[in-house]
């Protein structure tokens, strides 16, 4: 185990950082064992062990080190853990260290130090901006080949292949005030809002609240170190019953009407499964008010080979020293256009590092921070450029030179300064991601050289405020003051009248004017020597952006896609503004006229698991089962999904194929007794004095005169004239009907009927109730089914005259109160026995027991389909597809000619629906009776050696019919009704099947079997 050679000794007054040196933690990186301390991130622990080289870049495979301190990190992408818990592309800067943590670098082969792909860097002239578009567009047929090679070479991490073993959960929150970010501004806002008694949620992506205050050692609040103020505020917030504190929770999406999503890492930092605890939790937050206190992100400087490991953001270098007690280098060099860089110089100098120089872009830096550095005897190179870095796996030095006054070139020759760390500060961007996601408008601030929030988008009185760094505020003093004000205002808007608490007194170093240069000048222009990286993760250089601009790209949205700048997993957190600056400079315009790209959720990569939550596996979609489900399972049924229902598909006996089972079931249903679980049919109770009139409008046929106890088949159309559903409806009383619908269409039919009742015919008094789940239905059919039912039912006269086809009787079956319907979907004598659901199983068992001697045979949906097709009965959704009329189906007989109106009547007389060459339903018989056509197969009249051919239509249903002793099929064919007797062709892969067009009725065309 390596020693932590880069850990600073604790400082007598500044302390040793926020790590616990009494709690060492062992971890591994690329198989090597290291140790760190509790409170470390993987990044800080690696740096403590002098590991700077942590990854290879995406395109050029250049060695890369840690650039940042948190969510902005573009380089240090890590694959964590193994097996199905493995997770790629995590930022080392955000991974909390735990014992046994197992991390690996990405995008390198065979090893991080000796990476074959690095040859890409030597071949960089082959990889210009728009490389993919220029190289792989031709020939198009080769793209699949190219893509595979590219995917393998230019990869990030690897996704695990098996299912995620962890559990994720969702939570809903409805706070008065949601505060995003627990830095100085967010804490102040939470305190002010919390003291009013408002319901407050305070979320921060980090493990510890405090934000930037955790990384500074030169700020005092109320005379004490800033960390003490943080601790006091957090303690007070924790004591408030209406305040919810969510550390490790990244608010990453801001949607309409103050709806935000946040992902909480519940156990990731523990590195083990915790019983009864999800790994991560998705918070769905609808907030009355939102306070965005998301802080700022630092910009890198763009100079030659600025991607060498050991070159990092100035605030990151300081954060490692102050928060984690880590020397990111012992000989740091600062390159800055901003006073903030001087704070990093002071932080390192105070801890005993040898700061070799501060390279300042400004010709005349001044102010207290500059003076303090000068007093330490640190060399300040004012008006200098860092013209380039050198070093391989670690920065070894920087070339510097005096610039011309306008910063566009060099005034003198370069000289080289040795160092082992470069801390660079190119300025600060307010973290406006969430603000922009909420459709707020940004404004370019010339003073800050950054976009700041301008106008919020608040269409429904759900306001928000940006405070602190997120609003462009420069000082902690102002951040805390603004935070208090925003927190209080937010709480007041919810009704509280509390007074504003006093702002604490903040002592912090003052800051002077800064200077922004988008590219630091070198001896040669960009693109001619070395690489000036803008987007580190996607390997986009200043030269690439310049090339895109010269090639004519003007919109930043196009430049982004062409160069891929800002399109990595970091979404350009460190690169977007630099890219804008460079493009604007190349085009000779200003940044506001180039615009900014759209910020989209999520703010940082978020696991798919957390979005899925518990809605996976069996809970992904409800599974509906019937009362007889246990019997089906016990008797070996194969199931199929019909909507959410699980329906028995067929019941194979030992050794039977599906075809053999279906043949047996179909023969039994016509020669003995078949029994079908028909419970899933949609059932709607229709009641009210206008119920008959309503049905008369909803169906194509006449309903007013249907007798009580009588059933009628109905076809339901949309107003367009196209078929939407069918089913049998029975009149139970003058004002009471029992409607059935297709299994899959039940919800849509109910919605369709409710819509018309509520919006078109509110004058009708009709009440609709879904009763699908209230009834269990066993449908028995076949020549012996009357005998079977007679054994179990002694209070209904089952004789044909007493109980004719299309009627319903109430009675008892096997002692169970039942409604028995004489309706048939097979053409056989048939009874559908409806009992309350709780008796479903008892009814089924009684029928099976009594039916045994009659050869009762359960059949599933497959046989049901075959049996109805033998009789030419359509299935809505199989023979229809939303563009089929009753005429197309040959069902004109059910469309009333006398009714003045029904839903769909006017639609049917539209000219296109009356054409004679519409696709019409016919039967098809293959020349070879054993040939079963595939459903969906296309039908042609004129066969050609190869497509394209004129397609007349397609096969809608196709089966082998044991009852017919041959295959049968139904099809929709252009002008089909006039083609009966014609021979057509069905071209299939490798063969063509000849078919004859027939009536779509294949069995018992006279319907002689209906009454037994």
């Amino acid at each position: 185990m390596n020693r932590q050679t880069n850990r600073f000794a604790p400082h007598p007054t500044l302390g040793g950082g926020r790590i616990d040196r009494s709690s060492p933690i062992g971890f591994s990186f690329d198989g090597q064992r290291y140790s760190g301390y509790a409170g470390d991130t993987l990044a800080s622990a690696l740096l403590a062990n002098d590991v700077h080289l942590v990854g290879r870049s995406f395109k050029y495979h250049r060695p890369r080190g840690i650039l940042g301190l948190g969510a902005e990190e573009p380089n240090a992408l890590i694959q964590l853990a193994r097996g199905n818990r493995s997770e790629p592309n995590l930022r080392a800067t955000q991974i909390e260290l735990f014992d046994g943590l197992d991390a690996a670098s990405q995008n390198r082969w065979p090893s991080l130090k000796y990476d074959v792909g690095a040859v890409n860097s030597a071949l960089h002239r082959l990889f210009p901006a728009g490389f993919y578009y220029k190289t792989f567009m031709w020939p198009a047929s080769m793209w699949m080949t190219y893509e595979e090679v590219i995917r393998n070479a230019a990869g990030l991490g690897k996704a695990p292949e098996g299912p995620d073993p962890d559990r994720y959960e969702h939570m809903h929150a409805h706070p008065d005030v949601l505060i995003v970010g627990a830095g100085p501004a967010g804490l102040a806002a939470a305190l002010a809002a919390g003291r009013t008694g408002a319901r407050v949620v305070l979320a921060d992506e980090q493990a510890e609240f405090g934000g930037s205050l955790l990384c500074e050692d030169d700020i005092a609040i109320d005379g004490k170190p800033a960390a003490d103020w943080v601790a006091a505020v957090v303690a007070e917030l924790a004591s408030m019953p209406e305040v919810t504190l969510l550390p490790r929770t990244c608010v990453h999406g801001y949607y309409d009407h103050n709806y935000l999503l946040a992902a909480e890492r519940v156990t990731d930092h523990i590195g083990a499964v915790v019983p009864n605890t999800p790994r991560q939790r998705l918070w769905k937050i609808r907030a009355r008010q939102v306070v965005l206190a998301t802080g700022m992100l630092e910009r890198p400087l763009v100079f030659r080979d600025n991607d060498r490991p050991g070159i990092m953001l100035s605030t990151a270098a300081r954060g490692y020293a102050v928060r984690y007690g880590v020397a990111a280098g012992r000989k740091p060099l600062i390159v800055t256009g901003h006073d903030d860089g001087y704070r990093t110089a002071l932080a390192y100098a105070a801890r005993g590092a040898q700061v070799v120089a501060v390279v300042d872009l400004r010709p005349e830096p001044k102010g207290p921070l500059v003076e303090a550095v000068r007093q330490k005897g640190i060399d300040i190179l004012a008006g200098y450029s860092a013209t380039g870095a050198f070093g391989g796996h670690r920065v070894e030095g920087v070339d510097v030179a005096v610039m011309t006054p306008d910063g566009s070139g060099l005034a003198r020759a370069t000289r080289r300064i040795g160092c082992d760390l470069v801390a660079m500060c190119g300025g600060f961007n307010p973290t406006v991601h969430l603000f922009s996601q909420s459709r707020g408008k940004l404004r370019w601030d010339d003073g800050l050289d950054a976009f700041v929030p301008d106008r919020i988008h608040d269409p429904v009185g759900a306001p928000q405020a940006s405070v602190g760094g997120a609003a462009g505020t420069q000082t902690i003093t102002a951040a805390v003051k603004d935070g208090i004000k925003a927190g209080l205002e937010a709480a007041r808007a919810t009704g509280s009248t509390a007074r504003q608490p006093a702002a604490p007194k903040v002592e912090e170093p003052g800051s002077g004017e800064h200077r922004t240069l988008w590219v630091l000048p070198s001896e040669k222009p960009v693109g001619h020597q070395g690489k000036h990286f803008v987007d580190f993760q996607n390997d986009v250089t200043a030269a690439d952006l310049g090339l895109a601009a010269r090639e004519g790209y003007r919109s930043i949205e196009h430049v982004k896609r062409y160069t891929t700048t800002g399109m990595g997993t970091d979404q350009g957190k460190t690169s977007n503004i630099n890219a804008l600056g460079i493009v604007a400079a190349t085009l000779g315009t200003d940044i506001p006229s180039v615009g900014t790209t759209t910020f989209r959720p999520p703010y940082t990569p978020t696991t798919i698991g957390v979005y899925g939550g518990r809605n996976i596996g069996k809970l992904f979609d409800p599974v509906r089962t019937t009362a007889m489900d246990a019997w089906h399972r016990a008797n070996g049924a194969k199931f199929e999904h019909v909507g959410q229902w699980m329906r028995p598909w067929y019941y194979p006996k030992a050794g039977e194929t599906m075809r053999q089972a279906v043949d047996r079931e179909c023969l039994a249903a016509r020669n003995a007794v078949g029994i079908l679980d028909a419970s899933t049919l949609g059932k709607i109770d229709v009641r009210g004095k206008d119920a008959a009139e309503f049905l008369n409008r909803a169906y194509t046929n006449a309903w007013l005169k249907l007798g009580i106890g009588k059933c009628r088949y109905g076809l339901m159309l949309k107003d367009s004239g196209f078929v939407m559903d069918d089913g049998v409806t029975t009149r139970l009383a003058e004002d009471h009907f029992h409607m059935t619908t297709t299994t899959g269409g039940a919800a849509a039919v109910l919605g369709h009927l409710e819509e018309h009742l509520q919006t078109e015919w509110p004058d009708l008094e009709v009440y609709l109730t879904s009763v699908t789940e209230q009834w269990a239905v066993a449908s028995i059919c076949g020549p012996k089914c009357r005998d079977l039912l007679a054994e179990l039912c002694d209070d209904i006269d089952l004789a044909n005259e007493a109980f004719p086809f299309m009627s319903m009787k109430e009675g008892t079956v096997a002692g169970i109160p039942a409604r028995v319907f004489r309706i048939s979907f097979t053409g056989e004598l048939s009874f559908e026995i409806n009992v309350p659901r709780r008796y479903g199983s008892a009814l089924w068992n009684a029928l099976m027991a009594a039916g045994e001697k009659h050869g009762i045979t359960p059949y599933g949906t497959e046989s049901m389909h075959v049996l109805r097709a033998e009789r030419g009965f359509v299935i809505v959704g199989q023979e229809t597809d939303g563009s089929v009329t009753p005429t197309d189906l040959g069902m004109d007989w059910i469309v009333s000619k006398t009714k003045t109106d029904f839903i769909g009547k006017r639609g049917l007389s539209r000219p296109d629906l009356m054409l004679s060459d519409r696709k019409q339903l016919v039967g098809l018989l293959t020349e070879d009776p054993t040939e079963v056509l595939p459903e969906g197969a296309q039908i042609v009249a004129q066969l050609k050696p190869q497509p394209p051919m004129v397609m007349l239509g397609h096969v809608t249903s196709s089966y082998y019919s044991a009852n017919c002793g041959r295959s049968i099929a139904m099809a929709l064919i252009k002008g089909g009704h006039g083609r009966k007797g014609e021979t057509l062709s069905v071209p299939l892969a490798g063969k063509t099947v000849r078919v004859t067009v027939t009536d779509p009725i294949f069995f018992d065309p006279e319907g002689s079997r209906r009454d037994g």
């Binding site: 009407h257 269409p459 009547k905």
Partner: protein, 101 residues
Amino acid sequence: MQLVPCPWCGPRDDAEFHYGAEAHVARPSVPADCSDAEWEAYLYLRRNTKGPFAERWNHAHGCRRWFNVIRDTYTHEVLASYKPGEAKPDIGETDRAQKDA
């Protein structure tokens, strides 16, 4: 993600609702009297307003009632919510697309 004000239940997340497109497209009382063009317009022709727009919503996972909302399709501002049969509030419906042009 939007909050939809149901006149019966109050504001609810839009996941509870079914969107019903343009409001106040009445089904002709005597469809047989409609020309083909009139019937086509009733069936298929809908405005595609960018701006305040009267539209129908159904609280499908709540009270199952239909109602009308005037909502700005660009800003998602909800200007009014009212029951079927109630008069449409007098809110100027300006199409932003026309205004932009």
